[in-house]
Amino acid sequence: MLLPVAVNLRRRIASIPLFWVITIPLAVSAVGALAGVGYLAHRNGQVAVEGLGKQLVTQTNALINREITSYLEVPLLINQLNVDNVQQGRLDLQDMAALEELLFQRLQQFDQMTTILFAAPDGTFRVVERFPTWKAAVAEPSQPGRLTQYHLNPDGSRGLQLDIATGFDVRRDRPWYQQAVTHGGPVWSPIAQHGPSDYLTLTASQPVYDPTTGALLGVFAVQTRLGYLSEILQQFSLSQGSRILVADPTGTLVATSTGEQPYTVIGGSNLRKQFQRQTLTTSQDELVRALGEQLHTLESQPQNRPNHPATRPAISLAQPPLTIAPVPHTFSFRHQNQRQFVKILPIQDAYGLDWRMITMVPEAHFLGDLERHQQQATLLWLLSLGGALGVGLLAAKLLLRRLAQFTQASQLLAAGDLNQRLATDSPIAELNGLAQSFNQMVDQLQAAFNKLQTALDESETKFSSIFRFNPDPIAITTFAEGRFLDVNRSELAFFGYHRDEMIGRTALELNLWTDINQRHHYRALLEQHGQVRGLEVQVTTKSGDIRTILLSAKRQSLEGQDCVIVAHQDITVLKQAEARLQQTQRWLRQYSQLSPGNIYTLVSEPDGTMWFEYASAAVETIHEITVDQALADARLILNTFHPDDLPGYEAAAQECLHTLCAFTHQFRIITPSGQVKWLDARSQPEVRANGVIAWHGIAIDITDRKQAAKALQESETRFRQLAETVQEGFFVYEIERDCYSYVNPAYSAILDIPLQELYMGMAHWIARIHPDDRDRIETALAREQHGENFSQEYRYITPEGELRWLRSKAFPLCDTGGQVIRVVGTVENITERKQAETALRQSEERFRRAFDDAPYGISLVSADGRFVKANAYYCNLLGYTEAELLNMTFLDVTYAEDQECDWALFRQMMTGKIPTCQVEKRYITKQGMVIPVQISAAPVYDEAGQPLYSVGHVQDIRERLAVDHMKDEFISIVSHELRTPITAIQGALMLLGARVYDSRPQQANYMLDIAIKNSARLVRLVDDILSFERLESGKVQLEKEACEVASLMYQAVESVQPIADQSGITITLTPLTATLWAAPDEIIQVLTNLLSNAVKFSFSGSTIWLSAEVKGEEAATSLPPYLPTSRPRFLPRTYLLFTVTDQGRGIPADRLDLIFKEFQQVDASDSRKRGGTGLGLAICRRIVMRHQGHIWVKSCLGVGSTFYVALPQGAE
């Protein structure tokens, strides 16, 4: 029951137009939302504002309330104070003056109060008031109805009498008195007229009782002007439209903030004026009236109004009486389109005060613009609503249009039109998405159709091509008869028929079957199993060839017909290959049987076992077991491995097992007969299934080879040892490859080139050959290319820069064609030998030079005295050439008298009797000159110890003899010279000693003088001789230093000065500031000698000049004239020239040179007289010569002499 309903419902629901579905909810929700929102906003706004307003008002009210209450407390306080005063005895009510003063004081104290009063039951009445001026009113008990008013002075004393009012009895006429009395305590009296004034006052009164008797003594009262309350309220005015009122519960105004008086005077006079109190409803203020009406409406309750004449309410407007509830409450009402917000607060106290404070604030006060805003909001709300609806409608329309399109397209699609596409230009994304999806779907559909179509076509084509182009012949035949329905190209090609020849015919008709029985078999299988697989049959082609084929056929229903699809493979070739293979295998087997190497297949199983699948006949030769034995048990071979080689073999085998690379190994086996054989085994792995590896290899007996190799190795080792130990370098050089094929270490060492570099070619070697020798070597190399042997000595510079002499010998080896293919050679380091040769040559050279250049004669004479060799000196000495001498004996040149002696000595020496001989003899030169010589000779022996010849050193002793002679002469002269003064001294002294002259003092003195003089002379002589001898011998080294020339000159002059002065001779010194490198003492000696000579040979009164000059490089000719014999042979670069000039007697020209000889004086006796030793100048000359200088003299007889000493200035 539910279902159909549901269905119906659904149907009904299903036909709701989309438009409504979209629009209505949209509208509804829009409206609802917006309305709700708007309403809420409005409400919230209102509430908020109200709340705010209320708060504000409340606070203000509170403030006002406080203010009023506090104000209203004051009168009560004053009364209480007064009462307390009385009750505590501070005030005596009988003392009117004090009372008045007190009242005055009190009013002064509390300036908010208008009046302060006291009335006694006996009619005493005192009033003090300040408004409008300070006044006092007095009534006496005697005349209680008579109220006299006085001015009050500032000090409180009565002033002018103002007025007298009668007919007033306070006890009666003023409610405050009565009420106080009635109440018995502080009480507020109704609002009443104040005295004669026009204003109403509020009075608080309190009775005072006698503390002891409790009798009423009087009533104190304080009055405050009602208008004051209004003033207070006005202070708190909130805003322009707001009102604050104080009214009694009936609505009669007490005070108002509007400024109007809440009462009017309607009659009466003086103290009995009649006032009409305003009520809310009778207020002049419209708003207040409205409020009053509102209040009436809200809170009117029938109640008794207090019936007081003074406070009779306004003429009733036939309204029900109002009682404003004494609780704080708020409400609002509308007045003239303005909401007024009203708060009512009770003002009460315990003393009868019961008022209501009404605060009315127009809502516009705070709502202000809220209304306007509310309107704006409403407008906005309407706009949005309209907008939302509009948009919704628009969207709906768009949507619907698209959906309609979609529906249409789908329908057409369903109908079969695949060309439907939806536009995707909608602004709505989902619609676009939908359209896109639709389009995609349609595309897919179309694609799928197309694919299917293509696939179908392809499939057809594929099948077609497969069928047609299959290399394997395929045919489709009928099952029943085997008639060909379709054949492919291969079939046609195979059988050789044309298409039309085959289609429609059977295989039988075409005689395809070679063997009918096979056909039967085939048919049987086909019928039985429906298919035939790989049936080997023979068929005959059109050309008559018989082919073997593998036939496969399947029964298949094709296009309703029962067909057979037949395919076959032509295995004729295969068959033939098989046959050939078998034959090859047979041949292979035969070969392996013949091979000397063991051809084998060793299979290794995963578990490690090994077995021979195949082993050739060689097994028997090598391993001494039969093939069968080997095949049966591989261990027969595998266990024969030599224990030393087993580890290596196993390692190699393992490696190959893992890496599956080719196995190649050499190892020894020990055959059963104990022979040790070397085998070379190589095999290739073949990985078979299940981890089985088959090693196909060959093992060859290489024992012989090994032995040969060993022999070769030994031979090589010997060669190598030889090549490497020999000192000579050995090389083999390949001409074609232009590099060394072998160099031994010695070669590398000799050339000092590392082996690697050598192997790179000859260039290294050639580059290092000394440049001077290189050409020669290269020439020799060129000749070597032509087959000539190479033998050269040359210089070679090692990489380190060491020079070596090498001798290389090389022998080119030619091939049969005569071309040099190889050069073998040696290289020797002959540096030492060369050095030795050089040394020898140098030694010979030195010897020869020594021989030739000797400063003495050297002659070699044979044992028979014949000259073998003579040096230049010897030849020159004797005046013969060497050639002439070689034909002579030494006796031929010996002085006749010396020959015999000479020969005897010679023979003695040559026969070995004397080792050497020294002899002085005389030679006769070719010219006949006799030369005294000294000869030292020694024999030279040959290896046999026989004297070969004699070597003689020949010294020309002429000079020596002359020197000796001179020396003898010198000695004789010296001895003579010494003896002379000695003789004089000895003689004189001896004569003196003989006392001969005892009495002749003069003579005696004369003799003494002689002795003294000659002693001095002897001393000088000895000095000179000694210094001369020293200089002559050359033993003393003159210590040269830098001397100040001037100083030397000074010193020389100084030493000579005494004798110069003695002789009356002036010495003029021209000093020179210069330095001289010389022995200072010796130079001084020279100068001194020259000066003293000058002094000796000068006349008294004459002058001697000593000067010096530094002379530079001057031509020899510019020097002062000198004698040829004393021409200086060389000139020092810069030399110092001393000159000593005298005016003595001069020296004869022939003596100018002689005087420098020892003991050669111009006039010996004269000189001796003057103290000369005869050695002075000789000494000077020696000294000057030792300084490499020159000394000479220029003289003119009778004029004077000038001695020159030239000395090189600096050290040479």
Partner: protein, 123 residues
């Protein structure tokens, strides 16, 4: 009559010594000559009993003087004694060739000079 000796020596001091020795000690008379020339002159002109001749003289050596003396007949017989300081054998060799009365070497003892001369001359 006192002997007159001719002393020939170029050295003044020697001459003086010899003179003193001969005169003071020997008591003879002497003549002195400082040179060969003087000697010849004096020998020829004066009565000289003997000549004491110094060999080493600068202008004319003793040998020459002796030859000169020998050359002249009147001077030939005068005995000549050579006074010399040359004592070496080879020097003596020269004297040996001459017909000298004697050789006296210097230095000599002046005190005994006279005696020596006398002995040499046989006086």
């Amino acid at each position: 009559m006192a002997k007159q000796i001719l002393i020939v020596d170029d050295e003044d001091d020697i001459r003086d010594i010899v003179q003193a020795a001969l005169e003071e000690i020997a008591g003879w008379q002497t003549l002195t000559a400082a040179s060969g020339l003087e000697c010849l002159q004096l020998a020829q002109t004066k009565a000289v009993d003997a000549i004491l001749l110094d060999i080493s003289m600068p202008d004319m050596d003793g040998f020459e003087i002796f030859r000169q003396l020998q050359a002249h007949s009147n001077t030939r017989p005068i005995p000549v004694i050579v006074l010399t300081s040359k004592v070496l054998a080879r020097d003596r060799a020269h004297f040996a060739a001459l017909d000298l009365a004697g050789i006296i070497t210097k230095p000599f003892n002046p005190l005994s000079l006279g005696q020596e001369v006398a002995t040499l001359l046989g006086w």
